[in-house]
C-alpha cells in the first residue's frame, strides 16, 4: 500500500489491523504484544487469529516467490511499466539487475530486502498514513 491516507481510509479498524500486520512482520516482541492486545480489544480473539493467518499466508506466498526466484511475467513487463514508475516500484532494490540461473535477468516478483538496503522502500511506505508511521521495520 503506497501513497497517502488518513485514519482508516474507509475500512473499519484498518489502522489497528495495519499496525498489527507491521508488528507481526517486524522483530519487536513488545510492539507485537501491544498490537495484538489492541486488535483483540477492538475486534476480539477470532479476528486476531484470522488476521494472523492472513499475515502468515501472504508472507509465505512471498517466500515461495523468493525461493523460486520467479520474475514478473514477460507479458506483464511492458503493460505495467507506467504504473511501476508512478508508484516507485522500479526503485525497489529487487529491481536491480541480477541473474537467476533458471530465468535469466529480469524484474523479480518479490524480494524481502535487508533493512539497511531498504531506505527507498521505507520512504514510500512511510507515506501510507500520517498516524501510522514506519512501524517496527523502519530504519
Amino acid at each position: 500500500m503506497i501513497g497517502g491516507a488518513d485514519g482508516d481510509g474507509g475500512i473499519p479498524h484498518s489502522e489497528i489491523l495495519g499496525r498489527f500486520a507491521e508488528a507481526a512482520i517486524g522483530d519487536d516482541a513488545d510492539v507485537l504484544a501491544a498490537a495484538r492486545m489492541e486488535l483483540v480489544g477492538a475486534l476480539g480473539d477470532a479476528a486476531m487469529v484470522d488476521t494472523s493467518a492472513i499475515v502468515a499466508t501472504f508472507t509465505a506466498i512471498d517466500r515461495v516467490a523468493d525461493a523460486t526466484g520467479i520474475p514478473i511475467d514477460a507479458a506483464r513487463v511492458a503493460p505495467t511499466a507506467g504504473l511501476r514508475g508512478q508508484l516507485g516500484i522500479d526503485s525497489f532494490p529487487s529491481n536491480a539487475p541480477r541473474k537467476n540461473p533458471r530465468f535469466g535477468e529480469g524484474f523479480f516478483v518479490c524480494r524481502k530486502i535487508p533493512e539497511n538496503q531498504a531506505s527507498s522502500f521505507f520512504r514510500l511506505s512511510s507515506k501510507a498514513s500520517s498516524s501510522q508511521p514506519n512501524g517496527p521495520l523502519a530504519p
Binding site: 479498524h13 507491521e22 484470522d50
Partner: protein, 42 residues
Amino acid sequence: MVEAQYLARHEMRDFGNEFRAITNTQIEFIAGRVSSLNQCVY
C-alpha cells in the same frame, strides 16, 4: 493451507458473504499491506 488461512477458491469470488471474523475488505487490506512490506508486486 491457503484455504485454511485465507479463503477457499469459491469464497474469493463471493463478495456477498463474509467467511471470517474480519470482512473481505479487511482481509484484502491486510494482504495488501503485508505484500507491500514484503515488496511483492505480483
